[in-house]
């Protein structure tokens, strides 16, 4: 199959993720959209590795997964703690830090 198709999928996933981050209120959903964007990037890396015929992109994908795992831990902890204090998971309620 033409490897460019994988790139199209990757771009699609990234776009869905970005739109999700920009438009959704629920922080869990936003969080999943971020994961979606990360995985779109991973897919792109792996595809590029395949096109180039070396393993660099694959290695980077592993790094991304490790970073994403850490990010999930920290992010979920923040979300849980916000939920505890505000009884809401909506990001629009967390708007104290402004002008």
């Amino acid at each position: 199959m033409n490897p460019a198709n994988y790139l199209f999928v990757s771009a699609l996933l990234f776009t869905i993720g970005a739109l999700g981050v920009l438009t959704r209120r629920n922080s869990i959903v936003i969080f999943m959209c971020v994961e979606l964007m990360l995985n779109a990037a991973n897919l792109a890396f792996v595809t590029f590795a395949r096109i180039q015929g070396n393993l660099d992109g694959q290695v980077i994908a592993f790094f991304t997964m490790v970073v994403a795992a850490c990010e999930v831990v920290v992010g979920l902890a923040i979300i849980v703690s916000i939920y505890r204090s505000r009884r809401s998971a909506s990001v629009d309620d967390v708007n104290l830090l402004k002008f």
Binding site: V21, L22, I30, V94, N95, K98, F99
Partner: protein, 641 residues
């Protein structure tokens, strides 16, 4: 003249106590506050008296040494030490300073005693005595400092004391204004003194009297620019402090202070500081004839100016103030005559200290008995009610107009003689002016005397004049004795002249007099007699109206308004000065403030708008991040292409 001669031959550790005692008194009374109310005045008087005793001790020691070795000094501490420039804070007591020390502490103590009764009912008597002690300390520092810079400290100190005491009753706005006026006029003079000090430093590299004297002696030519400029600036300083033309306008208003202050500061001591300054700087003036001529001109103008003002004043204190101005004019004139006149300037200063302080205390005594009335038109016939005041004031009167053998005769006569002996047309002009001044002095002082003590009573209703208490009368009596005897004591055998000779006129050979002393004395007495006669015809033969007549000649009107000195100052200096400050203020507000505030407002306004971007919504920030990333990518792609 051997200018390199050091002024002090020995040293004495007592000198600092002269200043320390009254300074201590001022400190205790000011810091002790209300706790010292009960005994503060006694302490202040005692400390001032203690200073006088130290002065007497020093005088006796000084008499025990020979003429050249009489000066003593005391090193206090190193004040400023920068590289090769050293200023030592030190005191110098020589034949000239001791005259002042005894006058200041002696008359000062008498006036302290007088004030105990005079200020008895004033709630703030303690503060008054604290200021008096502070004044004594500052004035002693002025005459004891061994350099111009030390003198300057005392000079500023007496200016401050004068300001505080003129405005002592500052609850009256007029009095507070008078104090400010005196302070501002004095500042102009102080400016001159500071410039003179700078010139001395720039030219001679030293500001001590020794150093400047040595430097001036080494200058090859007479009338060098630096010496003339320094002399002129010293004269400006003297004019400010001594109320000489053109800075004379403050003295009349200074009478707002309590009368003992007028007697001590504005008659006997502080206002003579200018004469001291010029006499002390003899090494400058002797080598700068142009500056000396200026001194003489200022002296002559002021002695006539003051005398003319004195003829029209109805306020007894202002009449005496005008007279003070005029008498100091005589002293300045004498000091301007160089070695021939310094001793006579100091002699007149000392005798004037006695009779003018005595007359001011007399005026205070009259005011005390007349419910603080100062208008002489509401006095009259007081000689029967206040005999002691009448006699002491009368002796002072005879002394000031120069009737022999009272003290003023000796000193003023010598000045007139020295003026005629200056030679040529110059001598004739200043001599005649001095004679004319003597005649006018006789006129206005006779007027004061007649209006106050003779004639019919013109008192306000409910006035019961009475003699003042013992503590007020005793100082007046002592000063009256001085007014009678001081002149003869200082003059017979040229005692003061020989005393001061090592300091002010070393090696000066007296020229042969151009007019015989007898002729000058006759002329002077004739002028005095004429003045008295005119006053007699005008004020004894004619009744004195209770209100000042308004249909008077233009000359009287001018004299009443102090020869328009205030109008002149206001239109020439004050108004343009105010316009200048106002326009500078306008420039400052519009341009400087405008630029500064404008820049501030620009950034402030911008940031107010910029911070609106911080909405607090996460999605806004993510949009920014996305936008930023998109721009980055676009830029990278564009760079590739």
């Amino acid at each position: 003249m051997d200018s390199a001669h050091a002024l002090a031959a020995g040293s004495s550790s007592l000198l600092v106590w002269l200043i320390a005692l009254p300074a201590l008194g001022a400190a205790i009374l000011l810091l002790g506050g209300r706790r010292t109310d009960k005994w503060g005045h006694v302490l202040a008087t005692g400390l001032s008296g203690g200073s006088f005793v130290v002065g007497i001790v020093e005088l006796i020691r000084m008499l025990g040494r020979s003429g050249e070795n009489r000066g003593v000094s005391q090193h206090l501490f190193t004040w400023i030490s920068v590289g090769h420039f050293n200023i030592e804070a030190g005191l110098l007591l020589d034949q000239l300073s001791i005259c002042f020390v005894l006058l200041i502490t002696g008359v000062g103590t008498l006036i302290h005693i007088y004030s105990i009764t005079y200020m008895e009912h004033d709630l703030d008597r303690r503060r008054f005595f604290a200021y008096l002690n502070f004044f004594i300390a500052a004035m002693l520092l002025l005459v004891l400092g061994n350099s111009y810079l030390n003198l300057y400290v005392g000079w500023e100190g007496v200016g401050l004391a004068s300001y505080l005491l003129i405005g002592f009753w500052n609850q009256k706005p007029v009095y507070a204004t008078a104090a400010k006026k005196a302070f501002v006029a004095n500042r102009v003079g102080d400016f001159g003194l500071s410039i003179a000090i700078m010139i001395a430093f720039a030219t001679f590299g030293s500001v001590s009297f020794d150093g400047v004297a040595a430097g001036a002696g080494k200058l090859a030519n007479l009338n060098s620019g630096a010496l003339t400029a320094m002399g002129a600036m010293l004269l400006l300083a003297a004019a400010g402090k001594s109320a000489q033309f053109p800075l004379q306008s403050w003295l009349g208003d200074a009478m707002a202070g309590p009368t003992p202050v007028s007697a001590l500061i504005h008659a006997a001591t502080m206002v003579t500081a200018g004469v001291y300054l010029i006499t002390r700087s003899n090494f400058v003036f002797d080598r700068a004839p142009t500056a000396q001529l200026l001194v003489v001109i200022v002296g002559v103008i002021t002695l006539l100016f003051g005398a003319v003002i004195g003829t029209a004043k109805d306020d007894i204190k202002k009449a005496l103030a005008a007279s003070t101005m005029s008498q100091i004019g005589y002293m300045i004139l004498a000091a301007g005559l160089g070695p021939a006149g310094y001793a006579f300037a100091i002699m007149h200063l000392l005798t004037h200290g006695f009779f003018k302080a005595g007359m001011f205390l007399g005026a205070g005594s009259v005011m005390h008995g007349m419910n603080d009335e100062v208008d002489m038109r509401r006095y009259g016939a007081l000689r029967k009610f206040m005999p002691a005041t009448f006699v002491t004031f009368g002796l002072g009167y005879l002394a000031i107009i120069g009737v022999p053998p009272f003290s003023g005769f000796y000193s003023k006569d010598k000045i007139i003689e020295a003026a005629f002996n200056a030679g040529g047309a110059r001598g004739l002009i200043i001599g005649s002016a001095a004679l004319l001044g003597a005649a006018i002095t006789a006129f206005y002082m006779t007027r004061v005397m007649i209006m106050t003590f003779f004639g019919k009573a013109r008192w306000a209703e409910g006035t019961h004049p009475h003699e003042s208490g013992k503590l007020m009368v005793v100082p007046m009596v002592i000063l009256a004795i001085g007014s009678v005897g001081a002149g003869a004591l200082l003059s017979i055998g040229s005692s003061l002249k020989n005393w001061l000779e090592p300091v002010v006129s070393r090696g000066f050979v007296e020229p042969t007099p151009r007019l015989s002393p007898l002729l000058v004395s006759t002329l002077a007495i004739g002028a005095v007699a004429l003045g008295v006669l005119i006053a007699y015809l005008k004020y004894v033969r004619q009744p004195i109206p209770e209100l000042a007549p308004t249909d008077v000649s233009i000359f009287t009107r001018a004299a009443r308004r102090d020869l328009y000195q205030d109008a002149f100052n206001e239109s020439v200096f004050m108004r343009p000065g105010q316009y200048l400050t106002r326009s500078l203020g306008f420039l400052d507000r519009v341009f400087i403030d405008g630029a500064v505030n404008g820049i501030g407002a620009l950034f402030g306004g911008t940031s107010v708008r910029a911070r609106r971007l911080q909405t607090g919504y996460v999605r806004t920030y993510s949009l920014f991040i996305l936008g930023g990333a998109a721009i980055l990518v676009a830029a990278m792609l564009a760079a590739r292409l």
